[in-house]
Structure formats: structure tokens, C-alpha cells
């Protein structure tokens, strides 16, 4: 790219910069008059900012910024940050989710206080996630992870007068603080063993060998714990149901899609770059086989998530558990990595990334639909959803699309992405993982279709009344639905990009 020769390298972080600046601008707008800053302006700014960032990321992707075609990954600030296809790909996920959430929040926040704070927190969290995807050093990983987490805590506890929201915020924060402490300790242990925080250097120093393999193993385990929290997978998943159920629905959408994806982004990079399986399994003092760990975690997570979801009566909570289940699917991307996997490693990792992208659309849409239902003031249980379709067919159709897509039913994006994931898992020899996944998604159809059944087939209760037709929410939901459907025919570019950029990690 001639472009890249002409501009300084730091411009490669433009998406993150745009997001951060937008967050600050939102604060300033709110500063001009804290009491009467217009919701529309704020939502518009937030959406515009995230869309711009996403646009830039997409443009970079098409231009091949930071990929082999243009001379490989761009490392910045003493290798602390790296801009490559993977980071851009994930940036695309975060920004699109953030955009949908901001648009939807326009209605959700109408007439509430602290709107400016809400949007800027969302933007800052997105910035943090973008940096997570870019970070090439455990230091930046930790800092950006916190930058993504702290606003999330505040967002979950956003409804100051709502006990559910507060409780959710508290639990999210407590587990988050715990896991971040564990994470930091893990980092310190890894630093103790390798004497570096830069991922490539860690790998290099490990390949030399170390006499503290036990410490290293402990460190890796703790770091994995930190990611388990961010991705809401076993064993740090307890917070997810509470947080997602109690939080304002747009925030739940944001967390369960973008935040989760961010966790995976950084987990993928850290484990593939810093602890290459080939190196850590052949250490002198012993072997730290994390892919086995993740295989176990994946199976436990998806099974637990699905079975728990099947027993829920509250739709939001069901979605929360189902998102745990999906974390399990995405974990396959790490679990199915093998020492001599070669191209298969890149394929399965890329498939997992692609699934996260599709998931970003369908899951965000589903939670935003719940946001709309909350706006309508209908209850939260399956029974309360009875007959919504007769009142709001368009929204109900969108929700149906999300549900079936989450279940992995054709003809929606979720089907093809799951197929790609399981297929690549089989390709790298983990057919049993794929089998567990397939069985789980078959099971998940049960509870997803309950929502659909309630909306379409059950008779509406007499009192069912749908008040307004919130524009922003509708726009966001329909956008998500269209995206979910179009990702079926348009899956080729996605999976192609994902697998190419993933292959670049190995």
C-alpha cells in the first residue's frame, strides 16, 4: 500500500484513537451543559464515532494493513501494540456492536439521567476492547483489559435506583476485581519466569528453556482465569447470569457480544504468540499444555451453559446462559490447536473468530429486542412474551431470526458459522469436540424455540399492550437481523479474512 508509506505508522491505531476521542468529545458535550444535553446529539455522536472507527478498520482490512500483503504486522510503541488483520477484524466486531448499542440506547435512555456518561462509558469500553485486540504485551493486555472492564462495571450498575442493576454491578465488579487480581498475579509469575512482558519475547525466552516450569504453569493458569472471566466461561462465569439479567439490556448486549469477543481476541493472541504450544509442551522441566485445558473448559462451558439455559424461566437470563454456551463454542478455537496443526490451527481459530462476528450480530440483536420489551414494560418471563408477534410482527420476526440463528438453524448466519467452526475442529482432529458442540446446539434449539413459540404461537394475554414503537431500537434490531441473514450468503469474505489473519498468528 502506497498509503502506508506516506502516513506515519501510528495512524494504524486510528480506530482506537477515533473511539477514544469520541468518548472525550461526549464528555465535553455533556460538560457544556450537564443538565440539558440532548440525548439525540449524544447518541448520534456515539454512533457516528463507532461507525467511523469501524469504517476505518474495515477499510484497513480491505487495504491489507498489517498483513503479509503490506509487509506484515505493524508494531508500535516498543512492540507494546501490534496492528494486524486480527486486531482489525475484532475492531470491526466491537465497533459494529457499539454502534448498534448506541443507536438502541437512544430510546432506552430517553428521559433518564447521566446520558452523556453512559455513551462515553460505552465508547471508552470499546476503546479498551480495541486496544485489547491490539495489545502485544502483557502490560498493555492488562491495562486495556481494565480499560474495558471498569466502564463496564459502571454501565452494569447504571440504574442507580434499581436493586437488580446494583446487585448485578456488584457481582460483576467483585468477580471482575478478583479475576483481574488473579490475572495480574499470573502476569507477574510469567514475568518472573521469562523476564519480559512482550509476547514474542516471552515465547523466545521460553524456547531457551526455564527451570521454573511450575511457576510458569501457574502463571498461565491464572492468565487463563483472567480470560475466562472476560469471556464468561467456566470457572469465572458466575457473574454472567446476574450481570446480564440485572444490567440494562443494551449493556447486556454490549457485554455479552463485544466484551466477550474482546476477551477471546486477547486470549487468542496471548496464547498463540506468547505460549506457542510447540514451545510450552516441550519445556525441559515439564509441559504446559493449555490446549487440553481449553478443550476441557470448552466442553464444560458449552454443556453447562446450555443445560442451565434450558431450565430458565426468564428470557434475559436464558440468553445470559446461552451466551455462556457460545463462549464454549468459541473456546474450540483455542482448544483445537495442535502442535503440528499447521494450517488447520489457523482455520479453526479463524472459524472461531468468524463465529464471534456472527454472534456479535445475532446476540446483540436478541438482547436489544429484550431492551425493547423492557421499554414496552412487558414482563421478563417466557409467559410474558406470549403473543408479541401479533402486536409487533416485524420485531418478533427479527427476534425469531436471532433465536434460530443462535440455535444454528439454517438459513441464518449462525448455521454456517457453527458449521465452519465444527468442521474446522474435525479437520484438526477434534471430532469429539465438534460432536459435543453439535449435540449442544441441537439441545439449544429447545430453549431458543421456546421464545419463538411464546411470541408466535401462544395467545397474547388480555393485558398485553405495546406502547411506543421506539425508532432507534427498531433500527438497531432490524440492522442486526439483516446482518444475521446476509452473513449466510456473504460468509465467504468473512471466513476467508478471519482464517487468513488467524493463520498469520502461527
Amino acid at each position: 500500500m502506497t498509503l502506508l508509506q506516506t502516513v506515519p505508522e501510528w495512524t494504524a491505531t486510528a480506530p482506537a484513537i477515533v473511539l477514544a476521542v469520541t468518548g472525550l468529545v461526549l464528555l465535553l458535550i455533556d460538560t457544556i451543559d450537564p443538565d440539558t444535553s440532548s440525548n439525540g446529539v449524544l447518541a448520534g455522536t456515539a454512533t457516528l464515532g463507532s461507525l467511523t472507527a469501524g469504517g476505518i478498520a474495515g477499510w484497513f482490512l480491505t487495504q491489507g494493513t498489517g498483513m503479509e500483503s503490506t509487509g506484515g504486522a505493524i508494531t508500535l510503541y516498543g512492540d507494546a501494540l501490534v496492528v494486524d488483520g486480527m486486531s482489525l477484524f475484532f475492531t470491526l466486531i466491537f465497533t459494529s456492536v457499539a454502534a448498534m448499542v448506541s443507536v438502541a440506547s437512544y430510546d432506552y435512555l430517553a428521559g433518564r439521567r447521566y446520558q452523556g456518561e453512559f455513551y462515553s462509558l460505552v465508547l471508552f469500553a470499546t476503546t479498551g476492547m480495541t486496544l485489547m485486540a491490539m495489545s502485544n504485551s502483557l502490560a498493555t493486555v492488562f491495562v486495556s483489559l481494565e480499560l474495558a472492564s471498569l466502564p463496564s462495571y459502571a454501565l452494569v450498575a447504571f440504574l442507580k435506583k434499581n436493586r437488580g442493576s446494583i446487585e448485578a454491578g456488584l457481582k460483576y465488579f467483585l468477580i471482575g476485581a478478583l479475576s483481574s487480581a488473579v490475572f495480574a498475579f499470573g502476569i507477574s509469575l510469567v514475568f518472573a519466569v521469562t523476564g519480559s512482558l512482550l509476547l514474542p519475547d516471552i515465547a523466545a525466552n521460553l524456547s531457551v528453556g526455564s527451570d521454573l516450569v511450575g511457576v510458569l504453569g501457574l502463571g498461565v493458569l491464572m492468565i487463563a482465569g483472567g480470560f475466562a472471566f472476560k469471556t464468561a466461561s467456566v470457572p469465572f462465569h458466575f457473574w454472567a447470569p446476574e450481570a446480564y439479567e440485572g444490567a440494562p439490556a443494551p449493556v447486556s448486549a454490549f457485554l455479552s457480544s463485544a466484551s466477550k469477543a474482546a476477551g477471546f481476541a486477547v486470549a487468542f493472541r496471548v496464547f498463540t504468540v506468547a505460549f506457542p504450544l510447540g514451545t510450552v509442551t516441550t519445556l525441559s522441566g515439564g509441559s504446559v499444555d493449555w490446549s487440553l485445558l481449553f478443550a476441557v473448559l470448552a466442553v464444560v462451558t458449552m454443556t453447562l451453559g446450555n443445560f442451565a439455559a434450558a431450565t430458565q424461566e426468564n428470557v434475559k437470563r436464558m440468553l445470559a446462559y446461552s451466551s455462556i454456551g457460545h463462549a464454549g463454542y468459541a473456546l474450540i478455537g483455542l482448544a483445537a490447536i495442535t502442535v503440528d496443526g499447521g494450517v488447520a490451527n489457523g482455520d479453526v481459530l479463524g472459524a472461531s473468530m468468524a463465529h464471534l462476528l456472527v454472534y456479535g450480530f445475532m446476540n446483540t440483536g436478541a438482547f436489544l429486542f429484550i431492551a425493547m420489551v423492557e421499554k414496552w414494560g412487558i414482563g421478563r418471563t417466557f409467559a410474558d412474551y406470549n403473543g408479541i408477534a401479533s402486536k409487533a410482527p416485524i420485531a418478533a420476526t427479527a427476534m425469531t431470526v436471532f433465536m434460530f440463528s443462535l440455535a444454528g438453524l439454517p438459513p441464518f448466519g449462525g448455521f454456517v458459522s457453527k458449521y465452519a467452526l465444527f468442521y474446522s475442529a474435525i479437520e484438526s482432529g477434534f471430532w469429539w469436540l465438534a460432536a459435543v458442540g453439535a449435540v449442544n446446539s441441537a439441545l439449544s434449539l429447545f430453549y431458543y424455540s421456546r421464545v419463538v413459540k411464546a411470541m408466535w404461537i401462544e395467545e397474547p394475554s388480555k393485558s398485553l399492550e405495546i406502547g411506543s414503537q421506539p425508532v432507534g431500537l427498531y433500527v438497531a434490531i432490524i440492522f442486526a437481523a439483516v446482518g444475521t441473514v446476509l452473513l449466510l450468503p456473504g460468509f465467504q469474505p468473512v471466513i476467508e479474512t478471519a482464517q487468513t489473519v488467524a493463520a498469520a498468528l502461527f
Binding site: I394, P410, F415, I457, I495
Partner: protein, 509 residues
């Protein structure tokens, strides 16, 4: 490109109808659904394929572009039409239009959604019958279930929830099993194929490329895959022990939906059986001839007997279609040009006739609001036209000469007698033929009680002539039935042209 156009137009029609206000929906859906009809007829007229699309024949209107490059096997967007799928496409479009018309009366609420879903289903059905890539085919195959689920669940009768869930669960489990079976076959083929295009797979299988997978030898793998796929499709057909979802679905579904269900959806199962099991794994099929023939005869007799025992007109027709699909299986396993061809022909014929029957029952129901044989008698006095067509259709069902049913069953029995897959085949054929007697029995019985005799109706509805737009579809269907019966060759030649390659398949391994 015409196939893509056809499908796209139908999807578009579905979308438009979905957002239209309710009172225009029905008419609009009818008008829009005429486009695919015209398109399919145009295709038929332009049809220039030869041989079986899977076995090296040239498919008509074929397009083949790479869609997804995923690891070892590319996924293609490959569609095309040959002698087996062409008649079914015509059947689908025509029957959908007629079903839509017949839905004007019974469907009273949320019309735009109903008709939108009908068109959506039609589009997916067209996809099923044209797709030549397994993945594309599977997506359409699954996508048919979604609208069906809603059509039964939302607009169905009192026990519609149960019926819808039962249908959904049965068919989805079946699909899963079938999918696993097929994929294991694909992995068994290993590197010998580079994509999931059905022709490529079929020819690779013929070339004996099948290897072992997951600890199974090639032969065992073939058997396992065959059984898995057969199970998957048999649920759709349905074959006797797996048929229990069908009566519930039929009884609960509103008439137009039953028409689509019996007329086209069941054909998906037999179509898939023909395309996959009997074309790709002929040897395995032959080796399983006995159990399959047993199942076929069982469904024929068992379905007929059950029909005999019913009081509900719709149940009668439903069970009778179970038995008719038994003939199709029988014809398929016969592996003779008349057997397989007749089976294919029976798909079309039964599509028309069962559609006719269901519509007739629907028309009666629209006025009487009951389907119980015991509740009514002598309907012929009040609704002569409907009654007449009902009788005609019934005779078509019994296989009255000069009607499609006769031709189809004649071909099947001829083929079955000629069959060489096993010695006992004539025996089974005889047993199956005995089914016709029962069919005649229960149909005559039902008609005698409902239509003829003194008029009696315990129910406080005013019985009048059915409106024109209810009867017209019946008439059209009857006409088509007779046309097909008089000159079966309009379809049968192309069908034979497509099925003959299957029969020439030698032992693969």
C-alpha cells in the same frame, strides 16, 4: 440464471406479502405466486436436460459458482434441473398457487404473515428441488421447516402447539441424523472429492472412492450412512413406524397447509431418498432391499388400515397418503425403470390428488366446521360441485384408469413385478396391491356416509354452495389429474430419461 430468478422472485414476493396490510395479502400473494408458476412452466418448455444430473447427465439451467471455501471441501452454489426435479418444480409452483387461493376463506387473521410464510416456504421448496450442492440443498431443506412450524403452530387447530412442536422436533432430529450420516460419508470419501456438489460425490462413490472413517470399513461406513440417511428421509416421507407426526400435523394444520404438506413436503422425503440413498449407494440399497420393501408394504397396509379406522375425514386422507407414499418406496426399491420412474411419477400424481382431497375436505369443513364422518351425511344435496369433485378425486386415489393415480400405481406395480433385487419382490407387490382394495374400501365408506344418503347435519351452520374461489382450485387439480392420467408421457419420458442411469449403476464395491 432462471432458477435463481425463480427463487429470488418468490422470496421477494414473500417479503412483500409479509409487510402488506392484511386485507390485500391474500390477493397479492395469489398474484405474485403466478410469477413462479409462469416461470416454472417456461422452464418446462425450455427444458433441455438429458440423463440424471447426479450421474454425468446434463442438468438444465445449471449454474455452479464457488460460494464458501472452507478447508478441504469448497461449498458451491450449484443448482440445476433434470427429469426428476422438473415435474416436482412444476407441481410445487402450481400447488402453492392453488393452496394460496384455497386459503382465502379459512384464514381469517394475520393474513399477511400467513401468505408471506406460504410464499417463503414455496421459495425454499424450489430451492430443495433444484439444489445440486449438498450444503445449499440442506439449507433449503431445513429452511422449509421454519415456515411450516409457524403455519401449523399459529393458524392450526386446537392442538396446534403439540402438533407443531412434534413436527418440528421429529423433522429436525431426522435432519440431524441424516446430516451426520452424509457428512460421515463425505469424510469417508476423503480427498477424492474437492467439494460437496452432489454430482461429484455421487460419481466419486460410483468410482469406489469410499474409504473408511472413524474406525469403520468402507462397506460398514456405507451401510451406516445409508441407514442414517434413510432414517432421516423416512421420517419426512413418512414410512410406517416413523409416521406418527403426520396425522397430528395434518389434522391440526389449516387446509392449505395440509395441501402443501401432503402435496409437496412429503415428496421432499422421497425425492431425497431417490437422490441420495438410491442414487449414491445403490449397492447398499440393494443389500437392504428386504427391510426396505417390508417397510414399504408395511406403510401401505398399515396406513390403509389406520385410514379405515378413522372418523375424521382429514385423518383418513392423511393416513391414506402414508399408504400411498409406501408405494413410492416400493417403486424405488424395485430398481426397474418402471419402478423408480413410477415412483417419481407417483410423487407428482399423489401431490395433485392428495392436494385435491385435502382441499375438498377443507371446502366441506369451511361450511360445516366439522370433519367428523359421523356428524354429517348427504352433503351432495347442498354442495353438489364439491361433492362431485370429491368423488372424482377419491376415485383418482383408488387408481381409477385415466387418472394420474392409476398410471402411477400401474407403473409401480409393473416395475415391482419385474424387479430383480430379490426373489420375494412379487410377493411384496401382491401384498401392496392388496392395499388398494382397502383404500377403495375406506374411501367409498367415507363418501357413502358423508356425501350420499339423506341430508343430515347436526351443527347449526347454514350449509350452502362453496364460493367459487374455493371450488376453482379443486377443478384445476382434477383437470391436471386427468391430463396426467390420460397422457402420462408428458412427464414420464423425462423421468425415465433421468432414472435410467440409476438402474445402470453397477456394483461400486
Amino acid at each position: 440464471m432462471i432458477i435463481e430468478a425463480l427463487i429470488a422472485v418468490t422470496f421477494l414476493a414473500a417479503l412483500v406479502t409479509f409487510v402488506l396490510p392484511d386485507r390485500y395479502a391474500g390477493k397479492a400473494a395469489f398474484a405474485l405466486s403466478l410469477v413462479p408458476v409462469v416461470g416454472s412452466l417456461f422452464m418446462w418448455q425450455q427444458y433441455d436436460a438429458s440423463g440424471n444430473a447426479l450421474l454425468g447427465g446434463t442438468a438444465a439451467f445449471e449454474t455452479d459458482v464457488v460460494w464458501l471455501q472452507l478447508g478441504q471441501y469448497d461449498l458451491h452454489w450449484m443448482v440445476g434441473v433434470d427429469g426428476i426435479s422438473m415435474p416436482l418444480i412444476v407441481l410445487t409452483t402450481i400447488l402453492s398457487t392453488l393452496a394460496i387461493v384455497s386459503a382465502w376463506t379459512p384464514i381469517a387473521e394475520r393474513q399477511s404473515q400467513f401468505f408471506g410464510l406460504m410464499l417463503f416456504m414455496e421459495a425454499n421448496l424450489l430451492g430443495v428441488f433444484t439444489a445440486l450442492d449438498f450444503f445449499v440443498w440442506f439449507i433449503f431443506w431445513e429452511a422449509v421447516l421454519v415456515p411450516m412450524y409457524f403455519l401449523i403452530g399459529v393458524w392450526g387447530g386446537p392442538r396446534r402447539k403439540y402438533a407443531a412442536i412434534k413436527f418440528f422436533v421429529y423433522t429436525n432430529i431426522a435432519s440431524l441424523v441424516m446430516f451426520i450420516g452424509f457428512i460421515s460419508l463425505v469424510f469417508g470419501l476423503g480427498d477424492s472429492i474437492s467439494s460437496l456438489r452432489l454430482p461429484e460425490i455421487a460419481q466419486a462413490l460410483q468410482a469406489g472412492q469410499l474409504g473408511g472413517f472413524a474406525g469403520l470399513s468402507a462397506g460398514a461406513l456405507a451401510s451406516v450412512a445409508f441407514i442414517a440417511m434413510f432414517f432421516g428421509f423416512a421420517v419426512k416421507v413418512p414410512v410406517a413406524p416413523l409416521h406418527t407426526w403426520l396425522p397430528d400435523a395434518h389434522v391440526e394444520a389449516p387446509t392449505p397447509v395440509s395441501v402443501m404438506l401432503a402435496g409437496v413436503l412429503l415428496k421432499m422425503g422421497t425425492y431425497a431418498l431417490l437422490r441420495f440413498n438410491f442414487t449414491m449407494l445403490p449397492e447398499t440399497a440393494r443389500s437392504f432391499a428386504l427391510p426396505i420393501a417390508l417397510l414399504a408394504v408395511a406403510s401401505v397396509i398399515y396406513g390403509a388400515l389406520l385410514a379405515l379406522a378413522q372418523q375424521d375425514l382429514k385423518r383418513i386422507v392423511a393416513y391414506s397418503s402414508v399408504s400411498s407414499m409406501g408405494y413410492v418406496i416400493l417403486g424405488l426399491i424395485a430398481y426397474t425403470t418402471y419402478g423408480v420412474g413410477g415412483a417419481t411419477f407417483q410423487m407428482v400424481a399423489h401431490g395433485l390428488i392428495s392436494g385435491l382431497m385435502f382441499m375438498a375436505v377443507g371446502v366441506i369443513y369451511n361450511t360445516t366446521h366439522t370433519r367428523m364422518v359421523t356428524d354429517m351425511s348427504g352433503m351432495a344435496d347442498r354442495m353438489p360441485v364439491t361433492a362431485g369433485i370429491f368423488v372424482a378425486g377419491a376415485f383418482g386415489y383408488m387408481g381409477l384408469p385415466l387418472m394420474a393415480g392409476f398410471a402411477a400405481e400401474f407403473f409401480i406395480f409393473k416395475g415391482a413385478f419385474e424387479s430383480t433385487v430379490m426373489e420375494a419382490m412379487p410377493l411384496f407387490t401382491g401384498a401392496a396391491m392388496f392395499g388398494i382394495v382397502i383404500v377403495a374400501g375406506y374411501l367409498l365408506f367415507a363418501m357413502q356416509r358423508t356425501l350420499f344418503g339423506p341430508f343430515k347435519f347436526d351443527g347449526d351452520y347454514e350449509i350452502t354452495k362453496a364460493p367459487f374461489h374455493d371450488v376453482a382450485p379443486l377443478a384445476v387439480l382434477l383437470l391436471l389429474t386427468i391430463v396426467l392420467g390420460v397422457s402420462p408421457d408428458i412427464f414420464f419420458t423425462m423421468i425415465q430419461d433421468a432414472v435410467n442411469p440409476i438402474l445402470e449403476l453397477g456394483g461400486a464395491f
